[in-house]
Symmetry: C2
Subunit: 429 residues, 2 copies
């Protein structure tokens, strides 16, 4: 019998009525001949409310206690979902992260899953029960309650799907799937039937909110088939799997954009070996996530190094940068938080030169200045002014005709097949 | 170094401000030279809100899932209290019932504590940390989360105090202690310095809400000294311990009253051996708690049996009673839920006849009819009409001069020493 892991995010279980609808879906999935394991996030605004309570008590709450606090959220939603399923005549049983055997390291607030034992989940499924598991949480090797940080519930679902050798991991959310661009920016953006793990990884890194990078990475490493679909329509969504014949036809999958980053430029850096390391090692030690890095061509023995990082990391990065400036004898540190990043992603672009040029051309045609360029084999990203980002996404979407599914013909590489892009999704807890 | 277990009820941790005040008290207790283990209930109305959510989903929620749901409440309060203590420079660590090693049977919703391992609590205390433990909850022998039912947090505190061999178990609550009568009924009621376990047991059985019977019983069995005191004033409250020289002087400790029971009369019961068993065995099997039982003198081979039970148990009891009526050939079942029970309690009354007569006399003087009488060696209880209960408590309180502390003189047994009575306390979770 097929085994499906279903994950429902916070907006899917926002109140009692929504929980009842999720219960109906779960019961229907079982009735269709599947074993079902459900991973559930905390209800809608529960987490925000708990964080607010903590902030009333402490400016910097102890991270172990914060995890203890926040994990109350899934406890509530999973118990209610179990009740709702039982009410429909189903046989559900809920498990905390600890009971489900989700063992993590001891990094409170952003724990990593080390092992998934899932013995009790397996037993429950063997008894034809529906296993409801708390997302976002685990138990550390020191027997403390941990949370998995952003995208944690997806990570729980993927890890469980891998451990249970599930046939699919369905991510039920408040968007219909992965689109060629954010439909709120490009109304004619098209929902994609399937994308590869690699493309999804680049999309996630590019700012697509529907799935966090870590979950996609985990899914790829363990070969878990992901299916992103909408709780509200129930329609087929987007599959994220190994490349298949369908995907191989695509050059461009879609456009991601991101306005959550800031740009830092270290000006007048002496241009000699080891300088980059002396800039980025201290930032890494401080836990600052660096995204793009660009170093300009050296000019009279001095150079400029620019990089992007999450705006949220700026307060931690700035004192470190000031120290670095003194240490390496740089002239100036400039920060700029009014930037945006636009990324064009497609597995086929590695065998099709000219994609980047087309993208630059589209931006030039709209008179949008490019400040930083960075590429991988299946992605081109440009940093531009934040206020121009929506226009940039639109002109690139148009240029590559992403709103119509075009069958790629090898002899006419100029005919580009559009594929994925992602919209911002609900809570990514 | 003395070890104190402090229990704070839901009204003591109703919001962030109250939690901060509790944190100050806990830190001060440690600073005064004690090791401190704190047992905490869910915040104010958290439990009600969770119960309401469950009721929106299921009329009869699964009891295992209900326990999973409700235990989110203490998780929130204990994490917040730990944060608040840390914020004050204290070193707190919170433990769930499971982490604290509170092992229960598998009766979800009303689990009984089987064992308290408390290893992690001991370790934390050995490291001079303040251990915060979730009240009301434990882990069953089947590794499921359980709740202890009414008065559960007090039970957690007493059980932990016994396991840790604590010097005292302080029950911090919204009343100042144990009074000679409910101060809301008798404004001149007096707070008692100390009462014995036995007296407190009778008071609790008589309807005093400040402590549940099970906690007092547990405290007596393990010799845990209880101290009931007010979170809001911080003043010395009432000690509940073994009888001491002070208590031995008392004849009357106080008056309890209870309007939560109903009366059932089985009329026209054939008066032959085994009939009582055939009435009460099926009720016990159904889990109905019977309090007082009175059987009238037989009259031409038929008799009436009256008993009291919690009003809440009536819906379960009635179908059983109807069956019983048929089985034993009784004439009629009558139920009456407008009764009240007034109990006079005092360890000294066993050696002083006439106390019961004085009580009946006081009621007669107020023209209050007595419907059922039941006595133990240290208690006299009367069932009366519910609407007369406050008047009854007042006249008895006056008759025994309970508002003034009178030193009992052996040669003048008519001089009665007043002692305890209890007011209804906050959430008894």
């Amino acid at each position: 019998m097929p085994l499906i892991v279903q994950k429902y995010g916070g907006t899917s279980v926002g109140d009692a009525e929504q929980i009842k609808r999720v219960a109906e879906r779960v019961v229907a999935t079982q009735a269709a001949g599947n074993k079902v394991c459900v991973v559930v996030s905390a209800m809608g605004h529960t987490t925000d409310a708990l964080v607010e309570l903590a902030s009333q008590i402490s400016a910097v709450p102890d991270s172990r206690e914060m995890d203890m606090l926040l994990t109350a959220g899934e406890r509530i939603s999973m118990a209610l979902l179990s009740m709702a399923i039982n009410e429909l005549g189903g046989r559900a049983i809920s498990f905390t992260g600890s009971q489900a055997g989700i063992v993590t390291d001891t990094s409170h607030g952003r724990a990593k899953i080390i092992e998934v034992k899932a013995d009790r989940v397996r037993e429950a499924l063997a008894e034809d029960r529906i296993a409801i598991v708390a997302g976002f949480q685990g138990v550390s090797t020191a027997f403390d309650v941990t949370t998995l940080g952003r995208g944690g519930s997806d990570a729980s679902a993927v890890a469980l799907a891998a451990a249970l050798d599930a046939d699919a991991c369905e991510i039920w959310t408040d968007v219909e799937g992965v689109f060629t661009a954010d439909p709120q920016v490009v109304p004619e953006a098209r929902k994609l039937h399937a994308v590869s793990y690699e493309e999804m990884l680049e999309m996630a890194a590019g700012g697509a909110g529907v799935l966090m990078l870590r979950s996609v990475e985990y899914a790829r490493n363990y070969g878990v088939k992901l299916h992103v679909r909408s709780t509200f329509t129930g329609a087929e969504g987007t599959w994220i799997t190994e490349e298949d014949e369908r995907m191989e036809q695509a050059i461009i999958s879609g456009i991601a954009h991101d306005v959550s980053e800031a740009k830092v430029t270290v000006k007048g850096v002496p241009d000699h070996p080891g300088v980059a390391s002396r800039v980025f090692r201290p930032l890494a030690d401080e836990g600052v996530n660096i995204d793009m890095i660009v170093q300009n061509v050296s000019d009279d023995g001095k150079t400029d190094i620019s990089f992007t990082l999450p705006k949220a990391d700026l307060p931690r990065a700035l004192p470190v940068l000031e120290q670095i400036r003194g240490n390496i004898g740089a002239e100036e540190i400039r920060t700029d938080d009014e930037i945006a990043k636009v990324s064009l992603v497609g597995a086929g672009m590695k065998s099709h030169p000219g994609v980047a040029a087309d993208m630059f051309d589209a931006l030039a045609g709209a008179n949008i200045n490019i400040e930083i360029i960075s590429t991988s084999s299946i992605r081109v990203s440009c940093v531009i002014r934040a206020f121009e980002v929506e226009r940039a996404v639109k002109v690139i979407h148009d240029r590559f005709q992403l709103s119509t599914e075009v069958i790629f013909r090898e002899s006419h590489p100029e005919t580009l097949t559009p594929k994925l892009k992602v919209v911002r999704a609900e809570d990514d807890r």
